[in-house]
Amino acid sequence: MNRHLISAGDLAKDDALLILDTAEELARVSERSIKKLPTLRGRTVVNLFFEDSTRTRISFEAAAKRLSADVINFSAKGSSVSKGESLKDTALTLEAMGADAVVIRHGASGAPHRLATWVRGSVVNAGDGTHEHPTQALLDAFSMRRRLGGLDGRRITIVGDVLHSRVARSNVLLLATLGAEVTLVAPPTLLPVAVGTWPCEVSYDLDAVLPKSDAVMMLRVQKERMNAAYFPSEREYSRRYGLDRDRFAKMPDDAIVMHPGPMNRGMEIAAEVADSPRSTIVEQVANGVTIRMAVLYLLLGGETVA
């Protein structure tokens, strides 16, 4: 494996499977009454969050703590960053403190790549701008594998704002590596112009794709897109691309529904769909901790779970 986890595209199939298999083993640990492992004792993991994301931060924090690592949470707000300190100076500070791994969430695409040129520790991308969010893709793959039994040849449909979605980018890359067949569904305004070069299919017609899907992943529609002429209105978006009860009924009986959260209930996903037994949304959160344990463990620890 690479020293860093910055893009899902950096993972060879063997790497990805090793992470998923390690997560399976760690999941069994999480079922014990004492969840903690001593593996990363004495190692320091810094959570460097330039964007507010409580969900992702506490997920990484819980993962690192269950592996007994020392965790430092560095939030840009109220720190020297808000006084104009550059990413490079922040990186050099962390380097001086001896961070073994830096988990970075940043609003600028590519910030983790830049960080990796300034620190010696491992860099884990926890979401960079509109680029990637590889641990989200890994936890999604983990969740799908558990529900569907495997990913090879599975038909995965990702619906929504692909253009601005780091979740979609990482999922397309990882799922292609793992042998799944991915179809992106979105209004043409919310697809990159060169999406035809991506390792997936593209459709504008959700109703046509749903019956042929083993899993449907709904992406969050950001509020700011609603006022930028990407689509005429919230209601029209919801009518054409929302997963409501009628559309849910068109899916195969054993197909699952996913969402990386946070959801706009009633917009891209109806409440009863989100809350149905075929929704993995809550599991995804739990699996997030497990998969992040596996990533930190493999980047910092060793090859096998003690």
Binding site: H106, A111, H131, W198
Partner: protein, 429 residues
């Protein structure tokens, strides 16, 4: 002064005698009193003229000054540069353009011809006092809001019309602003993968098409800055075929580099050293630009030399400043992209990098044919050998070159401004 053993536009070896700032004699075996310089078989070009230089003074003397910028120009073989107007304060009055012009004269490394802003403060609302700048000691003929597009069609029309009174030209930075809000790099395969907001080719091409039509309608001169796409080339070729008075420039970096460097390069992904406006485009665009420069559709190579201090480039991509330094590598890049590929000979280089920019900028003392009686503005260039680009050796105050670590052909041996050496043996005099 006698310059021994040089090849005019790459021709047979001759000697040159310079006297009173002019070429006094050309021939074999010249002898006589005074200093003698051994040209070592170098190619002689008319002193290069840059239509597009950012000298940063006044306002950003941390990035470049008129002194360091013109030293950089001389080392690159330039004898004249057009200093862009986006300084602070903006060069939108006679006072500011005269200040820049005077600084150029005081330092004397090359001629500095200020460009005047088209609109007050580059804000695109009100015409700057174009006539006052034209009538000033700086004798401004090129007007540009470069860095920003004169996007208002009425304002652009008026500017094109107005400068006819003093034989001026509007040099347009063609960038439709609404189509490029927050734009970070060329919109295409790479931007989609990297999740960077795209700068679509159409945002350049739509403005060029509109401006060509406007220039034709009012019978004025239009110059298009830093053309970067194959589509722009097609539009300019069409406008020229109509006989319209449209000229265009291309930068060295758009002749050599492509947008995939943002994703994959020796200096890492998302390295803002490749961030520039207009952005690096695709291989197909590079090929179209080279062909256009070769067939004259694009008239000029202009550097868009844009110095930035280290801290404005050592950042995450979206926070970084746009631009690259280019004066000291321009001729080598043109050799690599155009000469060594057989697309242009040295006469062609002399036209695109000296005669044509001097003609467009209305600089009578520059870009003249290398013959007896012409001003002794000369560049001696040795096209043999290849050397790694070493930014530490630049005369420019800034180091933001995309060529660091790359090996480029050729080197500027000497530069002469009106018979006086500004560079000898590759070093400033």
């Amino acid at each position: 002064m006698i310059i021994k053993n040089v090849r005019i536009l790459g021709g047979d070896p001759v000697d040159l005698r310079l006297h009173d700032g002019l070429i006094a004699e050309i021939g074999p075996g010249l002898t006589g009193a005074g200093e003698t310089v051994d040209g070592g078989g170098a190619v002689v070009l008319p002193g290069l003229v840059d239509l597009h230089t950012h000298l940063r003074e006044p306002g950003r003397e941390d990035a470049e000054t008129v002194q360091t910028g013109t030293q950089s120009a001389a080392r690159g073989g330039y004898t004249a540069v057009h200093a862009m107007a986006n300084t602070s304060p903006v060069a939108d009055t006679a006072g500011v353009v005269e200040q820049v012009w005077r600084l150029g004269r005081e330092h004397g490394h090359c001629d500095v011809q200020p460009v005047g802003a088209v609109t007050v403060g580059l804000e695109g609302r009100q015409l700057a006092e174009l006539g006052a700048m034209a009538d000033s000691a700086a004798r401004v003929r090129v007007f540009s809001d470069d860095g920003k597009c004169v996007s208002d069609a009425v304002l652009m029309r008026r500017a094109l019309e107005y400068v006819k009174a003093f034989d001026g030209v509007v040099a347009q930075h063609a960038q439709e602003p609404r189509l490029t809000e927050g734009a970070q790099m060329n919109e295409g395969v790479v931007s989609g993968r990297l999740g960077l907001t795209g700068w679509p080719a159409v945002a350049e091409e739509a403005i060029i098409a509109r401006d060509c039509l406007l220039a034709a309608h009012v019978g004025s001169r239009l110059h298009v800055c830093h053309v970067s796409t194959a589509g722009s080339v097609e539009i300019i070729r069409w406008a020229k075929s109509k006989g319209w008075n449209v000229t265009a420039e291309v930068t060295p970096h758009h002749l050599l580099l492509t947008d995939d460097l943002v994703e994959d390069s020796p200096v890492g992904a998302y390295n803002p050293i490749y961030k520039v406006n207009p952005p690096l485009r695709t291989r197909a665009d590079v090929e179209a630009l080279r062909a256009a420069l070769a067939d004259g559709t694009i008239d000029v190579v202009a550097t868009d030399h844009a110095p930035h201090p280290v801290e404005d480039k050592e950042t995450e991509w979206s926070a970084a400043a746009m631009g690259m330094v280019g004066l000291e590598t321009a001729l080598s890049v043109v050799q690599e992209a155009m000469v060594d590929t057989g697309l242009l000979d040295w006469a062609g280089v002399a036209d695109r990098m000296s005669a044509a920019p001097a003609r467009i900028g209305r600089l009578p003392g520059h870009g003249q044919p290398l013959e007896v009686g012409a001003p002794a503005n000369l560049t001696l260039y040795d096209p043999s050998g290849r050397t790694p680009v070493d930014p530490a050796a630049f005369a420019s105050k800034s180091r933001n070159t995309p060529y660091e670590g790359m090996t480029l052909p050729g080197r500027v041996v000497a530069t002469f401004l009106r018979g006086r050496a500004t560079v000898l043996e590759g070093k400033l005099t």
